[in-house]
């Protein structure tokens, strides 16, 4: 009997006990009708070949293990970055359960959002009644300052008109006439979560800015972070830098406190976020900066239309990207970059120099959202690394062109290939046929690590199977240090693992590296 009260075995060791191994072997043999082992092995080996890769990359319809989510997830994340804002997703209710779970599993935090719970009758007659009742209930129960409405694909397919519905609901008294109910149509069959983010932020800005007179405050800056699973660490780090510079700025969308509430006996359904008053005032900023270009294309266009200067970055991470970001901020604000930040920069360069021998020539596969992949690729090349595969399932042809330009700018980018629209099953073939030393991505990458033995570094959303990484910044020079250390730890852990075999490889098990 494998189990005992003294030493309780978890699932991993329990099912390796002889009783269970025998039971599972017999189950397979007697009841599963499996393929013969040799056939399974042969197919397994075949998937590692160039021939399989070509078939795999030639797929036109089937998507397997994509690295992207749907628009409303981005909208719900965006809304979480505003003061006391409840996300209201119009359409089927199951979707909302999914967004909440997905965000909670990454942040290890509560995630609140409501649904208009449309069912079959609403599919026929439209969801107006659901909107009217739903807004009234949300307003009464959850005491929001703003309700941000987005849509599931069901509501989009039947063509529900959010603007009309919300006006109708206000007319029915669901919420006061002057209550803020910004909205964004977020069809899941267009783009990805980064577009849903864009749409929701734009919807909120339109709600507060449209028809208002703009009085520019010279030198003041808005910052839109984009969909960022590391918003907790990143936003706080950037604020620290901007405060050091003495810049007048506002984060427009900031979920850093909402997704990092303390445990002190009180559950805060709402915490932090950009204050409504600050959103209104942000109209007067001289410039709006986006930290993630592909998350804010429509929003920045809107800002430009209203007369703001705009600039966008690609997840500014590492040395030069941080330099550029700070210099842009300095240029607009007229504030100098203080010596203290210069010291931080020097320390990051110092760290890269200390470790350069371990990083030079390392080959990488990098996947994630378009801006993230751009940012990480750039930093990897700064450390002497060689990106080989750069993949974004939600990458566009414009992104592909920008990536190629970036890679062409450094000798370390010469062997890189850019894969826009491809998924992680394609990445599996790429890693088998053109192997790399390190894979940078998220938790889904663990299946690639298992299959191809490529060590995985988790640096982007979602990270389900490691805790608290998102509480630390990746951006800024301090963030660069964190990324650098994470990569180095993986390299050293792997090396130690390979050299710890007693009497066989441990001649290389060096104390100092």
């Amino acid at each position: 009997m494998p189990q005992s009260a003294e030493k309780i075995l978890d699932h991993a060791p329990l099912f390796r006990e002889p009783e269970y191994r025998q039971m599972l072997a017999e189950k397979k043999l007697n009841f599963e009708c499996p393929h013969p082992d040799q056939i399974v092995t042969d197919q397994s080996e075949y998937t590692k070949t160039w021939e399989y890769r070509e078939k795999n990359l030639a797929r036109e319809a089937l998507v397997i293990n994509p690295a992207k989510a749907c628009q409303p997830l981005g909208a719900v994340f965006a809304a979480a970055g505003f003061e006391r804002t409840m996300s209201f997703v119009h359409g089927s209710q199951g979707c909302v359960a999914y967004y909440r779970s997905h965000l909670s599993r990454h942040f290890k935090e509560p995630s609140s959002a409501v649904s208009s719970s449309m069912t079959e009758d609403a599919a026929v007659f439209g969801g107006l009644k659901n909107m009217i009742d739903g807004l009234a209930n949300t307003y009464a129960l959850y005491d929001p300052k703003m309700i941000a409405v987005s849509t599931t694909c069901m509501a989009e397919v039947i063509g529900d008109d959010l603007h009309g519905f919300i006006e109708n609901a206000k007319g029915e008294g669901s919420v006061p006439a002057d209550f803020d109910v910004p909205f964004a149509h977020t069809p899941a069959f267009v783009g990805s979560h980064v577009d849903g983010y864009d749409g929701m932020v734009k919807g909120i800005l339109e709600n507060f800015w449209k028809g208002k007179e703009r009085k520019e405050v010279a030198g003041s800056i808005n910052i839109i972070p984009g969909f960022d699973g590391f918003c907790v660490g990143n936003n706080r780090e950037l604020k620290r830098l901007l405060d050091l510079m003495g810049v007048s700025y506002a984060f427009v969308q900031d979920a850093s406190d909402q997704f990092d509430t303390p445990s002190d006996g009180m559950y805060r359904m709402y915490d932090g976020g950009t204050k409504i008053e600050d959103v209104k005032a942000a109209l007067n900023a001289e410039a709006t900066l986006s930290l993630q270009h592909y998350n804010t294309r429509k929003t920045l266009e809107f800002c430009q239309e209203l007369g703001q200067a705009t600039a966008s970055f690609h997840y500014p991470l590492g040395l030069k990207a941080t330099d550029e970001f700070l210099m842009k901020v300095s240029e607009i604000s007229g504030k100098e970059i203080p010596g203290a930040i210069g010291l931080e920069r020097g320390r990051l360069v110092d760290a890269i120099a200390d470790s350069q021998a371990w990083l030079h020539g390392k080959k990488y596969a990098i996947y994630g959202d378009p801006d993230f992949v751009y940012g990480v690729t750039r930093f990897v090349m700064e450390t002497g690394g060689e990106p080989i595969h750069c993949l974004a399932t939600n990458g566009t042809s414009a992104w592909e062109a920008e990536m190629k330009e970036l890679l062409a700018s450094s000798p370390f980018g010469k062997d890189a290939q850019v894969w826009s629209g491809k998924d992680l099953w394609a990445m599996r073939s790429l890693l088998f046929t053109e192997p790399v030393d390190l894979l940078i991505g998220n938790s889904y990458g663990k299946y690639l690590e298992r299959d191809t033995s490529t060590p995985l570094i988790r640096l982007t959303f979602p990270i389900f199977d490691r805790h608290h990484h998102h509480r630390f910044p990746l951006m800024g020079y301090q963030g660069g240090l964190r990324v650098l250390t994470t990569i180095l730890d993986k390299i050293f852990d792997k090396l130690d693992g390979e050299t710890m075999k007693v009497g066989v490889t441990d001649y290389s098990y060096d104390l100092t590296r």
């Binding site: 005992s4 199951g94 039947i158």
Partner: protein, 500 residues
């Protein structure tokens, strides 16, 4: 073992009044029917057992805007019933999100070479784009099936799990499935589990069951000579290995589990099921439909059982054995005796650490009732329980488990659950990921009771040891004592506040 305790009937009634008072009138009227306090103890004539009644309305539409915890029909079909079948490729047919959010999240353990002869922890999607909505997705679906056959030739079948748009744009996935099944001489199952159908996951279970009937049973002839002790386990999804910790016991008492539905299952196990002599059903809610069908059409009787905690395991083993006669009954007694040392040791170890601790549950299919006795086996008391998607027959069955005065909440809203927890302040809450962190912020221990909080198995005797340890490590962790900063004056009232 039956633990004796009573719940605070008056407080719970007051609580219900209190939460309802915050709703707009129309919503309050509707929600009122879903909340109650277990009452009216009555005795059944033959056994003298005491039952409670949980008089709530269930399986009706959620109210818009209240933060229901429920999911959808797709979640019930792909996520629960079909997803765990390991040698089939399950296509999430529609936009990318549904498949992405449900990818690898239910912990349906299986043995196989993923991507080669098993596909459970992969996300296959048709990733619908605008043109697919406008022009329809049938052509794309055909191509997808071709690509699956090319890249995954060892798959033993394909299912098409419909997302919302499929039913709205008038795609004929049945025709595509029929055509392609013929072309490849394989099993292709179209499932109409669009998320807007029904009121919760529940209709998705039902639709998935019907799809097995129509597209597996009715299309496949299986040559299999069943033995007298052949049984199917129905409604065990092998979360964290639950089905394995159950199977070992059933085999030990001399039964042959020819099919496990659907954790770690192959299509062959599903196809062969009607040949078995008995269906043993664990999750009644999600798979009673197919059991009733097998009873009607193939004459296979079915029996509910409960493998959570030694009291229920013992009773279930005896009941199952009784069906097969003295030989199996005798073996069942030996098995019960064999494990009594383990369960006694587990209870001796954890009872002193857990007795009298009060638990609130809010889960899905069977657990809001099935786990109650397992807690009581450890001396813990259930103060409140409720289901996301139960029907009336589930609440009837719940009456057999709960004590008088237990707070009952059907399709609870975020608001209600927070208020209930905040006032009752139980010692442990067992619910899902969406509830976990808000409860822990209040300083109340929590275990996820869908995923076993990444632990498990909890079924069977081996699982009970893990269950007991997990409840102890949640309740008795030192972190709950660290919440108050020492320089802050202790608040006199509970500090937890929901949304005010």
């Amino acid at each position: 073992m039956s633990l004796d305790y009573e719940n605070d009937d008056a407080l719970h009634k007051k609580l219900i009044e209190e939460v309802l008072s915050h709703y707009p009138d129309k919503a309050a009227k509707r929600r009122k029917k879903h909340l109650s306090v277990a009452k009216n103890k009555r005795k059944t004539a033959e056994e003298g057992q005491v039952f409670s009644e949980c008089d709530v309305k269930s399986n009706i539409k959620s109210i818009p805007g209240v933060m229901t915890i429920r999911g959808c029909a797709y979640a019930g079909s792909k996520g629960v019933v079909w997803g765990p079948i390991k040698d089939m490729v399950h296509i999430s047919h529609g936009p990318v999100g549904c498949g992405q959010y449900s990818w690898s999240q239910r912990r349906n353990y299986y043995v196989g070479t993923t991507g080669i002869d098993a596909f459970v922890t992969m996300q296959f999607t048709s990733d619908f784009q605008e043109k697919d909505i406008v022009f329809g997705g049938d052509k794309k679906l055909e191509k997808i099936i071709d690509e699956i056959e090319e890249l995954f030739p060892l798959n033993n079948g394909v299912t098409v799990q419909s997302e919302c748009p499929i039913g709205l744009i008038g795609d004929d996935i049945e025709a595509v499935s029929r055509k392609k099944a013929e072309e490849y001489n394989t099993t292709i199952v179209p499932v109409r589990c669009e998320g807007f159908r029904g009121v919760s996951q529940s209709l998705g279970h039902h639709i998935a069951n019907d799809a097995i009937r129509d597209w597996v049973f009715d299309t496949t002839e299986v040559a299999y000579e069943a033995g007298r002790y052949d049984v199917n386990v129905i409604g065990d999804y092998n979360i964290g290995g639950d089905a394995w910790a159950s199977r070992i016991l059933l085999e030990e008492i001399g039964l042959h589990v020819v099919g496990n539905w659907s954790g770690d299952a192959t299509l062959a196990e599903i196809e062969r099921a009607p040949k078995a002599k008995l269906n043993l059903i664990h999750c009644y809610r999600s798979m009673n439909y197919i059991c009733r069908h097998m009873e009607e059409k193939y004459g296979v009787p079915w029996m509910e059982y409960n493998f959570f905690g030694p009291s229920q395991i013992e009773a279930s083993l005896r009941q199952i054995a009784k069906h097969f006669g003295p030989e199996i009954e005798e073996r069942a007694e030996r098995v019960i005796a064999k494990y009594s040392g383990l369960t006694d040791a587990v209870i001796d170890k954890y009872w002193p650490r857990l007795r009298g601790k009060r638990v609130m549950l809010y889960v899905g299919g069977l657990r809001p009732r099935h786990v109650i006795t397992a807690y009581e086996d450890l001396g813990m008391e259930i103060v409140g329980t409720g289901y996301e998607f139960a029907h009336n027959d589930d609440y009837q069955r719940t009456g057999h488990y709960v004590k008088e005065g237990t707070l009952i909440y059907d399709d609870v809203t975020g608001y209600e659950l927070e208020k209930f927890i905040e006032v009752i302040r139980p010692d442990l809450v067992g619910s899902g990921i969406k509830e976990k962190y808000s409860v822990q912020k209040m300083g109340i221990p929590f275990r996820q009771m869908h995923s076993w909080d990444y632990s498990g198995p909890y079924h069977g005797y081996d699982g009970f040891a893990i269950f007991a340890r997990d409840m102890d490590l949640a309740v008795n962790n030192p972190v709950w004592g660290l919440y108050d900063a020492p320089w802050k004056k202790k608040a006199m009232t509970p500090a937890a506040v929901a949304a005010e």
